[in-house]
């Protein structure tokens, strides 16, 4: 038993009957008790992975181990998992109590009604839905239904909880509240949780770690902040971060990086951040908007197209090589639309990517 590999996915591949290769080659592991977010744009394969873990889909190749034992051939009901669907799938004809009791009163290992109710009540207390026991799901708000679905997923005391976009049916404010609740709930129960989402903010705020998928492959499997500070590749850098990262086309010639109107000497870069050799050619220079700031001796001279207020900060929008770019400045910044500005780059915070998206700096 290895608690660091409580859930282990090895070289997973899934090709659907119509020939679509949803998952190409995916391997990752999850620590016992962790809350891991599977993040990615729609169609990236994250829900497919969740369904394979749940046993609702069979993998085309690869292996899945729960607590060191392969479960690929195990029926879903014997995998000790709880599953929360995107639309909750609560039974509309049953009361909240009956819904939560349902997993305990069906199948081979069904419990007596009294015992089932006792366990159900325990989890209903944990999810704070005791008051709703006699209500039907149709009378509940989205947030309340969510809690019922989670309570129902937990009553069989599964070892792993799988959640498929559980917050996408809720409004923005409720989503913030519920995601915190989900985190504190699964942490207090101590259950290992895999949480599928397409919302990076959600993933960053609740995940112990995040696995970012795109195109059926893992792009990065890391702690939340590293997606921001050390993106693996061009896709990650552009997927994570709000406002989105700025990208500039540059050409490396000898010991210089040349853009249309600025030049950076390679010696000015942090040599320890180079990932590999950098032959001459085309590259993308990416920089987060907070690391491209107005300064007297800035290397980019441009004009502010527009200013957007986002709470504590302002986004200065400008055009570079016909592409819109952004600079993040303080709320108090006096700069307005039409102002001429000089922008400087924090060279120890920029990223360089090959045209294929591979990171070199």
């Amino acid at each position: 038993m290895d608690d660091n590999k409580f859930v282990e996915v090895k070289n997973l591949r899934k090709v659907y009957d119509n020939g679509h290769e949803a998952i190409k080659d995916v391997s990752f592991s999850v620590k016992r008790g962790d809350l891991v977010c599977l993040l990615g744009p729609s169609g990236c394969g994250k829900t497919t992975i969740l369904n394979i873990l749940a046993g609702l889909l069979n993998p085309s190749a690869g292996d899945i181990l729960f607590d060191g034992k392969s479960v690929v051939k195990t029926a879903p009901k014997d995998r000790h998992i709880g599953y929360v669907f995107q639309n909750y799938a609560l039974y509309p004809h049953m009361t909240v109590l009956q819904n939560v009791m349902f997993p305990l009163v069906v199948g081979k290992h069904k419990k007596s009604k009294k015992e089932a109710e006792q366990i159900a009540r325990k989890y209903m207390e944990l999810t704070q839905i005791t008051d709703l026991a006699e209500q039907k799901p149709g009378n509940l708000s989205g947030g309340q239904q969510q809690r019922v679905a989670i309570a129902r997923a937990l009553v069989q005391e599964p070892q792993i909880l799988l959640m498929d976009e559980p917050l996408s049916n809720l409004d923005a404010r409720l989503r913030l509240k519920i995601r915190e609740e989900i985190r504190s709930l699964v942490k207090s129960v101590g259950i290992t949780t895999l949480f599928v989402t397409h919302d990076q903010e959600e993933a960053l705020s609740i995940g112990d770690k995040i696995i970012l998928f795109n195109d059926g492959l893992i792009q990065q499997d890391d702690l939340g902040q590293n997606f921001y500070l050390e993106p693996n590749n061009y896709f990650v850098a552009n997927f994570v971060g709000n406002p989105v990262i700025d990208n500039f086309k540059v050409t490396k010639i000898a010991d210089e990086l040349r853009a249309s109107d600025f030049t950076i000497k390679l010696v000015d870069l942090d040599q320890s951040r180079f990932k590999r050799e950098m032959p001459d050619g085309e590259y993308t220079l990416s920089v987060r908007p907070e690391n491209i700031v107005p300064q007297e001796d800035g290397i980019i001279t441009t004009q502010v197209d527009d200013v957007e207020l986002i709470g504590r900060e302002r986004i200065l929008k400008f055009t570079h090589d016909n592409v819109q770019a952004r600079s993040l400045v303080n709320l108090e910044s006096p700069l307005r639309r039409g102002d001429q500005i000089k922008l400087g780059l924090r060279l120890d915070r920029i990223f360089l990517f090959t045209p294929e998206g591979e990171r070199v700096y």
Binding site: L56, P76, K77, Y83, N87, A89, F102, V106, G107
Partner: protein, 288 residues
Amino acid sequence: MKTNQKKAWLFLAPTIIFVTLFSIYPILRAFGMSLQKGSLIDLSWAGFSNYQYLFHDPEFWLAIKNTILYAVISVPVGLAISIMLAWIIFSKVKHKAFFETTFFMPYVTSTIAIGIVFRYIFNGDYGMLNFVLRSLHLPAPNWIDDPAMSLTTIIIFGIWTSLAFNIVILMGALRNIDPNFYTIAEMYGASSKDKFWRITMPELVPTIAFLLTMNVIGAFKIYTSVYALFNGQAGVGNSATTAVFYIYNKFQIVGTPGVAMVATVILFLIILLATFLQRKMMKKIGEN
């Protein structure tokens, strides 16, 4: 507000006129005629004499008994078979559309035509049904010509014809059940029995309530299938007479519209009562 109300009445007028003319007026007229005697063109006040006659007419009691027996047996049995078949088609069969169409065929075929085919199938000497029964060494009764069998024959026929409509409606209801309900139940280890009784049946309650009401009303009004099966008669020696058959007979053949209208009023009250009781019952089931 006032003009709106005027407009509302205007828009409702066509429906109100037609309902009044063809539903409410006939009911009132039937009740009026039930207190009259004589032929249609020469009606006179009769008080409750028609009622007295009817209550002492054994043929009427046979008709009511047959109708109630028919409704009480054919509706639940037909509905149970429909649910079973719909569930099998829905959950086990691959080419659903084909079977659905097949089962729906009887609904679009005229009852008279089906009745004629069934006369052959039910025929005591050369019928297909008895051929099968005989080859299985089972008793082969005379379905059509034996007065003791005629009600049974009609019930079997009624069950068979009710399947079409019921199955199509039930299939629609089954399709409306969120498939995730079953996925999640399976994940919790629910057996097929659990799934059927704890998910499918409760989800079907509103549909079953609707079908039950429609079927019971239809069953009380049974006429065409009797007519078709027994060649325009109510079975040998009127053994399979039904309420509507009795009404028709008294109205058109015997020429006592007053008596026919008494039977109409009573049948109306029976259907009203049955529908009312059913609604109460289904409401109770729905609540649990």
